[in-house]
């Protein structure tokens, strides 16, 4: 995907005769400023996620949801991943690799998490970085909307996995 995009962008620029390298450099300069700007937000976010993860609170929350998961046929091992997915993409990646290792990617849970990862997003990271970058403190219904769309994504992944792979 990346090589294709690079070629398209550069060829298009070449055809339109613009100063390609100058543009790249000025864009990259803006990129550096962006990273510096979001670093403090990222630091704070990763700190709170790490504390929550290390405390074992996540496993505790997962246990609360266990009976409900059993009723709707939700794979229990995927509950911690479901919550982690909303806060941290690196942590959820390591959880998904654990699931692939223990159950195989072609198991029910393996297929389910593959689909679920494609329709969910790291909500708290996105909200913090984007809103903090413009100093917005009141976000109205943004969190509710994001949670609802991800909830729909998760539930439909479960249903779709069952239908598609005949479980």
């Amino acid at each position: 995907m990346i090589p294709v995009c690079f070629i398209l962008i550069i060829l298009h620029a070449y055809v339109n005769k613009i100063a390609i390298y100058d543009s790249f450099v000025s864009g990259a300069k803006e990129g550096i400023i962006t990273v510096f700007k979001i670093f403090p937000t990222l630091l704070g976010l990763m700190l709170s996620v790490a504390i929550l993860r290390e405390s074992g609170a996540l496993n505790f929350i997962s246990k609360i949801f266990l009976p409900l998961a059993k009723i709707i046929g939700y794979p229990c091992e995927a509950i911690p991943l479901t919550f982690m997915r909303l806060v941290s993409s690196s942590a959820s990646t390591s959880l998904i690799l654990d699931i692939f290792k223990n159950h195989g990617p072609d198991s029910f849970i393996g297929r389910f998490v593959s689909i679920m990862m494609s329709c969910t997003e790291t909500i708290f990271y996105t909200i913090s970085v984007y809103f903090m970058s413009v100093k917005i403190t009141k976000i109205r219904y943004t969190l509710a909307g994001a949670l609802i769309s991800n909830f729909f994504g998760i539930i439909s992944s479960l249903i779709i996995t069952k239908i598609f792979f005949h479980y």
Binding site: M1, I2, C5, I9, H12, V15, N16, I18, I20, S23, F24, V25, G27, A28, E30, G31, I32, T34, V35, I38, M46, L47, S48, A50, I51, R53, E54, S55, G56, A57, F100, P105, D106, G110, S114, S118, E121, I123, T126, I127, Y130, F131, S133, V134, K135, I136, K138, I139, T142, L143, G145, A146, I148, S149, N150, F152, G153, S157, I160, F164
Partner: protein, 198 residues
């Protein structure tokens, strides 16, 4: 809102580990996470700047403008109050396209610029505008068409058919995005009566 969330995550985490006798884990979490975020930022510094550079080329060559035009009907439906020629809609379009292609690193600089542009025309600088809410919820509904990382992980763990989850994933992500749009449109009706901008 954000600080409440942050404070409660930290307090809940520390209190919970105090009760379960695992306070030393918190200490290492603090140290490790701060190191990790520096590492992530260093990676970001490189990759994100490369993409910001590429995006600048695409912007100057007019590529972004023509792509924006292609998804304009969709954007007009989502952001009816935004000027078609404005900078903000261009950055929103870039962010959406990059997200759909799964280029997260390319999406972030454009998305942050879109927020800056939206903030310029925002009436109350502390409260998210209607366009910001729509943009952010859409962004978090996962726009990615094909999740390349997942396919790579699946084949790494010897899946018989690594790409078999693409089709179902596409349906699932359409449902999440659709529900995001419906929810936001309904909430806009509740929050912003009679063309009230605030």
């Amino acid at each position: 809102m954000l600080s409440y969330l942050w404070v409660s995550m930290i307090l809940f985490g520390i209190l919970f580990s105090a009760f379960s006798g695992n306070l030393s884990g918190i200490t290492s979490a603090v140290i490790n996470s701060s190191r990790e975020s520096v590492e992530i930022c260093l990676t970001m510094l490189g990759v994100l700047s490369v993409w910001a550079g590429m995006m600048k080329i695409a912007e100057n060559s007019g590529l972004i403008k023509s792509l924006t035009k292609k998804i304009m009907p969709f954007l007009k439906f989502l952001f009816p109050k935004l000027d078609k020629e404005s900078q903000s809609i261009k950055y929103i379009a870039t962010n959406i396209i990059a997200n759909m292609l799964g280029l997260n690193w390319a999406a972030t600089p454009a998305g942050l610029k879109a927020m800056q542009e939206l903030q310029k025309i925002n009436i109350d600088k502390k409260i998210a505008s209607r366009e910001m809410c729509m943009f952010m919820i859409l962004n978090m509904s996962s726009l990615q068409i094909i999740s390349i990382n997942i396919i790579a992980f699946r084949s790494q763990y010897k899946s018989q058919n690594p790409s078999e989850t693409i089709g179902p994933g596409l349906i699932a992500t359409s449902i999440s995005t659709l529900s995001a749009i419906i929810f936001t449109k309904v909430f806009e009706k509740i929050y912003f009566k009679d063309g009230d901008q605030k």
